[in-house]
Symmetry: C2
Subunit: 151 residues, 2 copies
């Protein structure tokens, strides 16, 4: 196999998380953010990102407005969304319930050989993505100490 890339989340989901963090940061003062700005600010392909934003919008994780001065924005309640909510919206809730080896059922009664080993890991992962809301990121990281762009 060659330089294959398998990340924890899908590309779409990576973009979604980046975009949500990006808009969250700008949404502190009623600012609306256009798709072009989002794409640039996150190094994502514009039209692809547009599709993802439509998804997020349909799933009520973010607000949008058409027309002049339009764009995407978040209200206080949107900022309460967690990384987990984004992941669930885009990649689904498979990390919550699916067997790590892809078996049809994952349960204590029907465990695959890695079930018990992964149980703890999954629990921590889920706790982490659920505890980290966009608001929390905003608060924590308001001082240029983290990055979204690549270059």
């Amino acid at each position: 196999m060659f330089q294959q890339i398998k990340t924890m989340f899908s590309k779409s989901c990576e973009y979604a998380i980046k975009a949500m963090i990006f808009v969250a940061q700008k949404s502190k003062e009623e600012q609306r953010v256009g798709i072009k700005e989002i794409a640039k600010g996150t190094d994502a392909p514009e039209h692809f990102m547009a599709k993802i934003m439509q998804d997020l919008s349909r799933r009520k994780l973010i607000h949008s407005a058409k027309g002049p001065n339009g764009g995407f924005y978040m209200d206080a309640s949107d900022l309460k969304n967690s990384i987990a909510d984004i992941v669930k919206a885009i990649d689904g809730d498979t990390i919550y319930k699916d067997c790590v080896l892809g078996l049809k059922v994952c349960s204590e009664k029907n465990p695959c050989p890695v079930h018990f080993e992964f149980k703890e890991i999954k629990k921590n992962l889920i706790k982490m993505i659920e505890n980290n809301t966009l608001a929390a990121f905003n608060e924590k990281l308001d001082s240029g100490k983290f990055f979204l762009r690549n270059k």
Copy 2:
């Protein structure tokens, strides 16, 4: 987005882990396991699994023999391989070094907004897959208490 499936590992990697556990179990007494038996025992498509076994074999994670009475088998040193070795062979080592959001660099000096939150999770995940060798599984799970098939 529709019923999308994003698991921790690629499908190929899931199959690889299943196959390795399956052969490990049978390899305790010098038994060789044919590709058909492996595919059946793990609910994987035969020819696809064959490709994966070729990979694993090329990467020296398993032994194989052609011709009559041929098949795949493991020696003592093969049994020392961990889940991590399988994952690295098939999905690469991206979980070791890559940014969860897909940024080009992942480091303490250039952290993405989720870097520090994921650091701990990743550490635990890595520790877990490295500590779990096939031999350990064999020892631990020798009594029909876990499953690889789906039905």
